[in-house]
Amino acid sequence: MSGVGPVSAFYVLAVLSIGSALMVMAARSIIHAVLFLVLFFVSLAAMFVLLSADFVAVAQLLVYAGAIGVLVVFAILLTPSREQRGMETKFVGPGLLAGAVVAGTVIFIAFNTNWPTASNDFPSTVDAIGQALLNRWALPFEIASVLLIAAMIGAIVIVGGRGVDLDPGAAGPSARLVRRER
């Protein structure tokens, strides 16, 4: 990949994604951390576009920036504000060390392997992904739905499903109306 545009885009996005990931670490309020996380997801989606993976980029936007972002926000607001801090442990130093070691190892391997390079510039990926899902990965495609239903049922069971113990006042008059009609 060469040319002024893609190269400068790569460096901008690299700085943006690494910077926002670091800000997730550094942010004092957890809501700020979530906002930086969403920025990280978006910049990574742009990075996927740079790698001509347009469908994966859109999937990243839709699932991570849209859905996971909302999910994390909801999970935070379900816990009270006194929990909304970063709360670092004594593992900050060792954690940094571990992260640096892993990253360093991967970088070392990346530079010391002779990759068989090619330039797979996909004009459009959706059709190819769809055919791959229909033929070669048909079974994982179905298993994904089983995984999703398992996650859904599991999470509903965990958070309580029907047996949610809310204080009745918070539910509001409309909720009581619905319950009686049922």
Partner: protein
């Protein structure tokens, strides 16, 4: 194509510049004393219909929100799988139909479970 996506980058710049200009003009009006700037503690207080604010503003929400977000995530991912399927459908019509019926069927079972468990009821 990559170039078209780059044009969207220009659009992001415009998207920042457009409201940015409006805000800058508004701030400049303030600097030239055309726009009033007389804050006092009552104006800057949280507005809750005139009643004084009580307790923290970042209140805790109930779990119903989470259940909906959860269902949303699951069906969002379903759509991620179904779009490539829809585009590639022409090549493998009958086989694709069977696969999709199974795929959607399993998730409809999940929806039915949530419905049955009253997880779809707002409370």
């Amino acid at each position: 194509m990559l170039g078209d996506w780059g044009h969207l980058g220009f659009l992001i710049l415009v998207g920042i510049a457009l409201p940015g200009t409006a805000l800058v003009v508004s701030v400049l009006l303030g600097l030239f004393k055309i726009r009033p700037k007389l804050p006092n503690s009552v104006k800057l207080a949280t507005y809750e219909c005139g009643v004084e604010t009580e307790g923290p503003s970042h209140v805790q929400f109930h779990v119903g929100y989470y259940v909906f977000a959860l269902l949303f995530v699951v069906f969002d991912i379903e759509s991620i799988f179904l779009y490539p399927w829809a585009v590639a459908y022409r090549h493998e019509a009958i086989y694709g139909l069977v696969e999709a019926v199974i795929f959607i069927g399993v998730l409809v079972l999940g929806l039915a479970y949530a419905w049955k468990k009253q997880a779809l009821v707002w409370r």
